[in-house]
Amino acid sequence: MTLTLGLTSLFLAFACAIYAAVAAIVAAQRKLNAWIDSARNAAMLTWPLLTLAALSIITLIVQGHFEVEYVYRVSSLSMPWYLRVTALWGGQAGSLLFWSWLMSAFASAAMLRRWDRDRSLMPYVIAVTMITLAFFLSLTLFVENPFNRLWQSNFGGEPTPALFQPANTVPFAPRDGQGLNPLLRHPGMIIHPPMLYLGFVSFVVPYAFAIAALIIGRTDDEWIRTTRRWTLVGWLFLSLGLILGGRWAYDVLGWGGYWGWDPVENAALLPWLTGTAFLHSVIIQEKRGMLKKWNMVLIILTYALVIFGTFLTRSGVLSSVHAFAQSAIGPLFFAFIGVTFVASMTLLFNRWEALSSETELDSLLSREAAFLLNNLLFIGIAFATLWGTIYPLITETLHEIGIYLNIAPLMAIEKVTVGPPYYNRVNGPLLLALVLLMGVAPLVAWRKASARSLGRLMWIPAALTVPALIAFYFLGAKTPVALLGYGIAAFVGLTTLSEFVRGVMARMRLGENPFGALITLAARNRRRYGGYTIHLGVVVMAFGVIGSNFFQVETQATLAKGETLTVGGFTMRFDSVVNFPTEDQRDVIRATVSVFDSSGAQIATLHPRRDFFIDSGQPMTIPGVRSTLGEDFYVLLVDWQPIGASGATFKVYVNPLINLVWMGGLIFILGTLIAAWPDADEAKRYAAAPVRTAASVAGAD
């Protein structure tokens, strides 16, 4: 019953999406207003339909209908209800449906908010969002259907999943499911995928408006102004998703780090990088009417990478070309990315002349030039990251082509991969350059800046950086590269702060108190000071990243009870270990260790543990962490001999300044919220244009 309801809604949503896309295009071509309204209604109907479909799956999971293959794979009887609800996005089929549901919600919201303001753009906005939605729904329906049931053949063997009963089979219902991968049963992992997906789908909205503008031939920056907040919201969620993902890795994966340049992490980072470049370069288009084509390129790239990222986060494609070929989903995704990319670029080239710049670049030392450099660096990092991510696929494909066509030089290509050292070598210097630019660029004047005025703005931060550098040196940062990094971060932090100080002092001269001045300053120029706050967040994160990367110390040892190990000025004593089962089917081994500082005073008692999930047979290592602003003492229980043997084996990391990564992340998010917060002045500007009220829009339905 629930299954039939869900499946029917899913199918109807697919039909609505297709109808909406076709009707919207026909309506726009033939100027049929009634058709446009019909297309919009169909598009907005997808959301309630997909809500029903998603609720159906959740109901099936919560009720434990293990005859449904997806339910069997992602849930088990021992899982609490909240994990069962979030198991909706625990596997590929459910994730695709969840993605579609979010996409549909955002498309509907865009249509409600902007319907009358951008009437000419809307038909194509409907078409683009609904084609994207229809693609994802077709995958959900025809390739990875979450409503597939299990059927047992009368001739024995493994049951097969299918939507409808195949011949000679009987329904098969396992008594319990496999359960969600224990590594994913973490609060960070429960909210991490929705954050990333929210970020991904929000970027589809500016893309849809950009394509609509290209199709109808509007060359102004209306599409950018309309979608500025969507872009910021998308960017906010992507940033949150990345930070949460890092925190999850640090808490759960047990390797002492938070970012490993894993293909899946890169997949989420790539659209963030191009999206960040886009956020910066649209400012030039708004202020100077330049870079119109380039902004189109950036949003098209971001959309392609969003689809690519959605695909990568849920498939094992990068382990091998063969794994890729095995799943029907891979080629379909690549075909969709290819077709939309080529179509978008063709549209862009058709409008190439019309999108010429209204003004010229004047000087290499200008805000415009700084923004160009910013874009170059972001795209450079994105390209380097993409290259590293797909490098094994490139080499393997070339090798296979060589074998197929019998070309010796291609056959000689070995399958090669690159790891974190590659990314550190390439992206490290580029990121550092970007941080430096982030400090200097806001001080550079538009059009043409003079070295003299720049010097006047920078000499105080530069002078203050010198004592800071000396302090860093004596605090132990003796590696030249790390010292350079700290120096740049300090300088950029000081220049950014000096911008706040200048603004506050200007207002104080008008008689405001400093605190009030800061608040009005930020409230009146949300975008500018929100941006500066984000920059400060990046600086704080940079300190954390440099500290934890260059000065991490680690050790491992097997200790008998009462024995100690020493690492990075700390001493750790192994006190005891206990082993107990839990109600939710875990076998827990929990050690107790005491941590002493260099003076011998006890500073912490930690409990690193290992949880062994009985139903899935998977172990999980949970670190014991003593966290301070200065450093984290991070201990893992990696091995344990049950009776009488030598004791327990621990791996210990001391991660300096790692908390600055999370604190910087919080400042970063705060800054994004300031920049994206609804702005009364902006609302007034829009109110000046004739707009129907939200109530009359809703009433029109």
Binding site: K293, T359, N375, I379, A384, D639
Partner: protein, 175 residues
């Protein structure tokens, strides 16, 4: 992609004297990034080999950064818990998924490899904690390099155990 940056950056600048310096500056930066990518790819490349391929290539792969997988031979596992030194021998397994499927899946391939006296074998040393899943007929996936004596020094060691391999559907118990 980097190329588009240059043409676009150049195109958006109307004709004038200032245009050339932007093109030159942009190209210099792009060249620097490409150089950085190319040299880093080369110096940090990691090769995927089977043990069979390592043996065939002989001395030419010594010292190279390699990722290799093999079937663990149970009797060969020696672990010194005090020194955290793990030594074992692995037998060659095919890397190609189609070939593995053709031979009846990963579990069957690992079993065959361990019991085949003619399969290429390689000794491994790993300094670190012995993984839970380290046992006979498990698959060891290792990053490291091979020395002149044919001993493989693993920097990282991941174990995959076919009985716990995800993706299997349940088989109903016999009535």
């Amino acid at each position: 992609m980097a190329q588009t940056v240059a043409t676009q950056g150049a195109a958006s600048i109307a004709k004038g004297g200032g245009r050339m310096k932007f093109i030159v500056g942009g190209l210099l930066i792009i060249a620097a990034i490409v150089y950085l990518i190319a040299t880093s790819t080369q110096s940090t490349a990691q090769y995927f080999f089977t043990i069979q391929e390592i043996k065939e290539r002989g001395a030419s792969v010594a010292g190279k950064n390699v990722r290799v997988s093999g079937a663990v031979i149970g009797d060969s596992i020696q672990y010194d818990a005090q020194k955290l030194e793990l030594r074992f021998t692995v037998a060659s397994v095919p890397a190609d998924q189609k070939e593995i499927d053709a031979q009846g899946g990963l579990a069957a391939v690992l079993k065959t490899a361990v019991n085949d006296p003619n399969a290429a074998r390689m000794e491994v040393i790993y300094v670190g904690v012995k993984p839970d899943l380290m046992k006979g007929e498990a698959q060891a996936i290792m990053d490291g390099h091979i020395d002149e004596n044919g001993l493989f020094h693993a920097n990282t060691l991941l174990m995959k155990c076919p009985t716990r391999y995800e993706g299997d559907l349940p088989t109903p118990a016999a009535p």
